[in-house]
Subunit: 456 residues, 2 copies
């Protein structure tokens, strides 16, 4: 997990930002604006089909902040753009991220207006990192949040990530496999994700393998010789014929037959699974499991599980891989304090709450009841969700959980949510997020001060 594969360890990673971050940075530098700023990363609204999101992506965010620097190659490119002065570029060569970060641990359920992460740093540094932080937390949070629904729908049946090929590029395929695992998915077909993150890898066989043999049964025989406990794909030509060939193979092999399951990948999965189960059971192959794939999402899985379809595992691809019903979240990163003074944006529909924050989760009998969004310095009832994870540019030792720990935390935190939030249907009313009295008063004071000033 050293980031060996990631573009983020690349010497150009500092340029993975929007141009205006760099032009603003030069402006701050030129104006001598270097006071500490606080930025908050949050979303305003849940996608319609989500009752909560799962915070994910902090690991990559912290690594980026620790490693941020502009190489000679990057500076050379910037020089060529003509926007930047030589003294500024010299200063940029020495720039490091020196700020503090508070964040929700990965795997925490998060609600509208709650910071997933807050950055405090000299304003230029804090501003510069916006684009990258949003890019990574957005991707990983969106995908983990989708996957928790798939996992919930499967009710303990195995879920395997088959999404790599239709995810949006290599970075998404890798970070996504990790996010899915955090959310409770059992394994991934993505080999590199397995290597980088230690996630169990899993796979069966493709139609082309069957087609490359003279007869389907020849393909099954050859594959089982090499992988005795494999899962055989039975729908290349005629699904039920394919199942019968598995039965025939079991007769040929007798006691050596160890095939773990069959995979259905097309047609009416529920109907075919029942028919296949009947054929298998009729041949005494009760132990052979049925695995299904092909355009599955949480709704298809929930329906089949609810109807008692005899499927014990699901390979889930495209629809989970891009979080198809909600591929984006309106994640934003907003200035909330500068030089010790709270700041607030008043753009219509995009107003922000001022200052550094804390979120308290109030639980009753182990079930989350409501969250309270408060100022960082408040102490209220409930469990604080934001913790210090980086100080002066260095990650705190407490902020390096293993992936297994993150996954266990996610399961534990999700289990604490009210049941209606864990359902696939929109929770009505949604989970309650209150604003503390002190924070509300602060926002109103600030707005009044602005309006007073505007009237002058």
């Amino acid at each position: 997990m050293s980031g060996a594969s990631g573009w983020e360890s690349d010497r150009n990673a500092s340029l993975l930002t929007d141009l205006y971050q760099l032009t603003m940075l030069q402006a701050y530098w030129r104006e001598g604006l270097a006071d500490r700023a606080a930025f908050s990363l949050f979303f305003r609204q849940l996608p319609r089909s989500r009752n909560y999101l799962i915070a994910c992506g902090l690991e990559d965010a912290l690594r980026y902040l620790e490693e941020l620097r502009f190489t000679e190659e990057a500076l050379e490119y910037l020089r060529g753009l003509g926007f930047f002065s030589r003294p500024f570029l010299d200063w940029l060569a020495d720039l490091r991220f020196t700020g503090d970060v508070f964040a929700m641990p990965e795997g925490t359920p998060v609600f509208p207006n709650e910071p997933l992460l807050e950055v405090e740093a000299p304003i230029g540094e804090a501003q510069l990192v916006e684009s990258f932080l949003i890019n990574q937390l957005h991707l990983q949070t969106a995908l983990a949040s989708k996957a928790t629904r798939v996992v919930a729908a499967a009710r303990g049946r195995k879920v395997v990530d088959f999404a790599m090929r239709r995810m949006h590029g290599a970075d998404a395929a890798l970070k996504g496999a990790r996010a899915f695992y955090v959310a409770g998915v059992d394994a991934t077909s993505n080999v590199l994700a397995g290597k980088l993150y230690g996630i169990p890898v899993s796979g069966t066989m493709a139609h082309s393998y069957v087609q490359a043999h003279p007869e389907e049964l020849d393909a099954f025989r050859a594959f089982v010789r090499l992988y005795p406990d494999t899962i055989l794909l039975v729908d290349t030509y005629d699904t039920l014929e394919g199942v019968r060939k598995v039965v025939q193979l079991s007769r040929e092999l007798g006691g050596d037959f160890a095939v773990r399951g069959i995979r259905l990948d097309s047609g009416d999965l529920a109907l075919l699974a029942r028919q296949a189960r009947e054929i298998l059971d009729g041949a005494g192959l009760d132990e052979v499991e049925i695995f299904a794939s092909g355009l599955l999402d949480e709704h298809g899985i929930a329906r089949m599980v609810g109807e008692g379809v005899p499927i014990t595992g699901f390979g889930v691809g495209t629809r989970m891989g891009v979080s198809e019903d909600a591929p984006t979240v309106d994640l934003a990163y907003k200035l909330t304090e500068y030089a010790g003074v709270a700041r607030q944006k008043l753009s219509p529909g995009k107003a922000t709450l001022p200052g550094r924050k804390q979120v308290f989760r109030v639980e009753s009998d182990g079930v989350a009841e409501r969250d309270v969004l408060a100022g960082r310095d408040e102490t209220l009832a409930g469990r604080p969700l934001l913790h210090p994870v980086m100080r002066e540019g260095r990650r705190l030792p407490s902020a390096s959980p293993t992936l297994e720990e993150i996954r266990a935390r996610a399961a534990e935190e999700i289990a604490k949510l009210p049941e209606k939030l864990r359902s696939l249907e929109p929770a009505d009313p949604p989970y309650r997020v209150e604003v503390s009295d002190a924070l509300r008063a602060r926002a109103e004071r600030l707005r009044a001060r602005f309006e007073g000033r505007a009237r002058r």
Copy 2:
């Protein structure tokens, strides 16, 4: 554009695949199945909201094929999985891609069942590369196809890619910026994409910059001092007040005032643009342009352009960045020939056409009329769209167009499409894709042969 930033130049890139590709590869190797196979990469259906797709991603596909190899580190990981024998891993260490590739040049409009790309290679090699090829062509084709709609809607007004932060990870943000540029987008805010691909970079300022100053006008003054011809963001507090401050700044600066434009990022963009235009014109600032951003897509842009809203440029983010209305395409990679014999998959709803193919685009008076999907060896009326791009694992010199050439080709090819296809509304009837008589006969012969065999 050396791939310096890309994970794909990483020593682990060969592992960015699905596990079953490797288990099948070992099976082919063990069985001695090494005859040449042909695979075809295509999609079956257009997303509902697309009349055509734009082929994109070939550059990355070819680079991957040229550089494919398993390093000691990759082999070490595979060894630890326990699925692979030592002799196989030794063989894998020397594996290179030695096949031929035919493809549509990037920027070609493509329709259902038409191969974007065909691979011919020993079956193990051809199979192994499936996951990666789909991952990259899927992403880039989906994003380029969305962007052509945005560009069409803007009718010559400037379109800038602001999507980086909400695209799915770093790879998508980079490849996507390139795909958008191919599709006719004018510039990107993504600095690293600018560096890697030579795309013009562009940017304005953020709300936080305004908020970090005591007064909005202070921020404008400071920014303009450094960037005299910048675009000022006017909606941090009150949009029209912001515009008036730009007017005030023009009076302060007199002949030195060179501000290129203002940006609106919230509220009713059409209304605010008209009001802002009035204020600017009233102050003699006719030359100051109005740039808009904020949850724009092709429909919002088309509406404003159609109504004559005085906006001269659009910053387009999230909705283009994930191709929100169609984030995936059912791109598939299917075996169509093995050992000189055509292959066909008959799974319900997923049947394929056999053999290597060519696509002929039949044009009349410079307008595309229909495509004919044919066997590779057929010669029919019309322009063949698939060209050889790689032979024996080496890219052909003709297959290295510059990005500018690709962009020009895309514009030219799109201009040849019938007008109703270039509209944002679904074309009814859709573009005609015929199957040649010879290809149809071949498919029927093969199906009859299979059914005859199945009946035995």
